[in-house]
């Protein structure tokens, strides 16, 4: 890729740290689910870390993202605080959503995170509208919409892509093709090998990228950002990757063949980046330090989260509505 060379070794170490933070976070989250400290479910991003980290490394702080049910990786990559993330998914008051959202709904607009969305493809139109709103405000911030291969067959995504095209919206669609929608392989859901070719049907570019290569993800995003900021409209990036874990921490049956899993494990994005750093002269010990730091950061986050107060049940009916004259008067009972 053209601009990958500008990413120097130090930056790659930083990217590795972010990827490790995601992985360590997910490993702990799955354990906490088993320990019944996390309710509902956890959808780990393990194996896909290079996508979010690569894409978000190209973004400015004032750019935005929307996310999915498998959203922890996007949040970490966008720079959200591990402590407040963990507090949220454990359901505590110091969580990003004060325990109202949980794992699938972390929102931090002040950090460019418009919200994780547990309706598959649900945030695609939101991303387009946010991008149009930013343009009306005279801002060149870009909105990145993350979604999966499963989402690619939802109707709303079609509407959102077409609307983005006709509005020339400053949006980037990132399809994280991890091959499986719970138990249904992508090959059973579509007759095309590359979802990226659908972009042509909307009149904007579609790019296939190696979702396990953080530098490539960053580079394709940079190109899409230039296009979006110039007002030339959206890009669809299809990131080929794989989720190493089952669909969720609650998944009981996993149909994926062992050979397939092994092949993708060999292409683990963290392994690949670590190997590359070592080949470029970074000490093996330094790689170990990066992992240890990430695990320590996550341990600190868990400690913070468990110390955070539980939400007051008496406040469960608050914040359904924004403050308004009629709301202040408590007319809504």
């Amino acid at each position: 890729m053209t601009s990958a060379s500008v990413v120097g070794a130090a930056t790659l170490e930083e990217l590795l740290l972010r990827m490790w933070r995601i992985r360590a976070f997910e490993i702990r989250a799955m354990e906490l689910f088993e320990e019944k400290l996390i309710r509902g479910s956890v959808h780990p991003y393990i194996g896909m870390e290079a996508i979010a980290v690569g894409v978000c490394a190209a973004l400015r702080p004032d750019d935005f993202i929307t996310s999915t049910h498998r959203g922890h990786g996007h949040c970490v990559a966008k720079g959200l605080d591990l402590r407040r993330m963990m507090a949220e998914i454990i359901g505590r008051e110091d969580g990003y959503c004060r325990g109202r959202g949980g794992s699938m709904h972390i929102t931090a607009i002040e950090q460019g995170m418009l919200g994780a969305d547990a309706i598959v493809a649900g945030s695609s139109a939101l991303a387009v509208g946010a991008a149009h709103g930013l343009r009306l405000q005279g801002r060149d911030s870009v909105v990145v919409c993350f979604f999966g291969d499963g989402a690619a067959n939802q109707g709303i995504l079609h509407e959102a892509c077409n609307l983005a095209a006709v509005l020339s919206a400053q949006v980037i669609f990132v399809c994280e093709n991890n091959e499986w929608a719970i138990s249904t392989p992508a090959s059973a859901s579509t007759r095309i090998a590359n979802i990226a070719i659908r972009a042509e049907g909307y009149g904007f570019p579609g790019v296939v990228a190696d979702g396990n290569d953080v530098e490539e993800m960053r580079a394709v995003t940079e190109a899409a950002l230039v296009r979006a900021r110039a007002g030339d409209g959206p890009t669809l990036i299809e990131a080929k990757s794989y989720r190493i874990t089952a669909h969720s921490a609650a998944t009981k049956v996993d149909l994926r063949p062992a050979e397939e899993l092994d092949a993708w494990r060999a292409r683990d994005p963290i392994l690949q980046l670590s190997r590359k750093l070592v080949e470029s002269g970074v000490d093996e010990a330094r790689i170990g330090e990066i992992e240890a730091q990430a695990r320590a950061d996550v341990a600190d986050a868990v400690e913070f989260a468990l110390a955070s107060p539980r939400p007051d049940p008496g406040a469960a009916t608050e914040d359904v509505y924004a403050p308004a004259d009629w709301n202040v008067l408590e007319r809504l009972s």
Partner: protein
């Protein structure tokens, strides 16, 4: 001084012009709303004044439009999306209920979604099953949404202005038959408060809770019944969520009788909810069982005789009122 009269469509149009002038974050999206000003001219003249970035003829993608509205609201704009026919809301329910209504709550109260979804409720003119539904009950049942249904041009302008300025997602349903109805509308900027009912006729015998077209049925019934010496008190709820239970409760405490008029289907409808609320709030004041005058539980048929048969009519309301007064007539 003679009062200026406008149609409801003109009144709504004035509200949009006023808010777009006042706030550069307000923009409108919908089908055929820009170049031709909307099928019912509610958005007339906006394109010339505010340009294609703020007055958008969108592709026929109702869910996409609503989702885009929510996204724009999240970054601080105040979008107004028009559903050409209110029934098309069925295509948008995920974006409306799972996104617009919940984003604030799910975020722990950190974000606001100042978004208005307007739609034309088109029953009464032979548009048949997919263009004639009155679906407000669905939105009342979705925590996080505000639901408004005006009955007069004055209320329409003031409530739409208030809806655009409100920080919550608002479903604003306009009865198509009322677009051409005229009434006094002040010039310039004013709001009608959300969540405040309006007594459109004072009376002592029976309270009629109603909204939108139901208000006009009630006013007509009120004139007929007055000739028989029966005085209706007509409470135009104007907003279904929040519901002004205080004004309605006070009226029922005065009259002791309640009829609710709704053009929505009967089962699980707004009329049922209002009866339940009054039972909660003013049971001891009720002298007779409350009565619901609603549409029947059918899809809306095409032929005029059939549509009239399933939609509530003035005669139905008159019969409901006289029926509930009969037991005490000889006392």
């Amino acid at each position: 001084m003679s009062e200026r009269e406008l149609t409801m469509a003109e009144a709504l149009n004035e509200a949009l012009h006023g808010e777009m002038e006042r706030d550069p974050g307000v923009f409108v999206v919908g089908e055929d709303i820009a170049q031709i000003g909307g099928l019912f001219q509610v958005t007339a003249g906006l394109l010339d004044k505010y340009g294609p970035q703020r007055v958008i003829d969108a592709p026929i993608s109702e869910a996409g439009q609503v989702g885009a509205g929510v996204g724009a609201a999240l970054v601080g704009c105040r979008p107004v999306v028009e559903l050409q026919i209110a029934d098309f809301v069925t295509l948008t329910m995920d974006q409306l209920v799972n996104h617009a209504a919940k984003w604030r709550y799910m975020s722990g109260g950190k974000v606001t979604v100042p978004f208005v979804l307007r739609g034309a409720v088109s029953s009464g003119i032979g548009m048949a099953g997919q263009h004639s539904q009155t679906l407000e009950a669905w939105f009342v049942h979705a925590p996080g949404l505000v639901v408004i249904m005006p009955s007069t041009p004055y209320d329409a302008k003031g409530l739409l202005t208030a809806a655009i300025r409100d920080d919550n997602p608002v479903v604003f349903l306009e009865k198509r038959l009322l677009y051409s109805r005229r009434g006094p509308v002040p010039e310039g900027d004013y709001t009608v408060p959300i969540g405040v009912a309006d007594i459109k006729r004072e009376g002592t015998d029976v309270t009629v809770a109603c909204y939108s077209q139901g208000v006009h049925l009630a006013l007509q019934a009120g004139r007929q019944l007055a000739e028989q010496g029966i005085e209706l008190e007509i409470v135009d709820l104007r907003t279904l969520k929040p519901l002004d239970i205080e004004t309605l409760g006070n009226s029922v405490r005065k009259t002791g009788r309640l009829v609710v008029v709704s053009e929505g289907a009967r089962a699980g409808g707004v009329a049922s909810e209002i009866v339940a609320r009054i039972v909660d709030e003013a049971y001891d004041s009720l002298r007779t069982a409350p009565v619901r005058v609603t549409a029947k539980d059918t899809p809306i048929p095409y032929a005029a005789q059939l549509e009239r048969a399933v939609m509530p009519q003035v005669d139905d309301l008159v019969a409901a009122v006289t029926g509930m007064l009969e037991p005490v007539a000889g006392s």
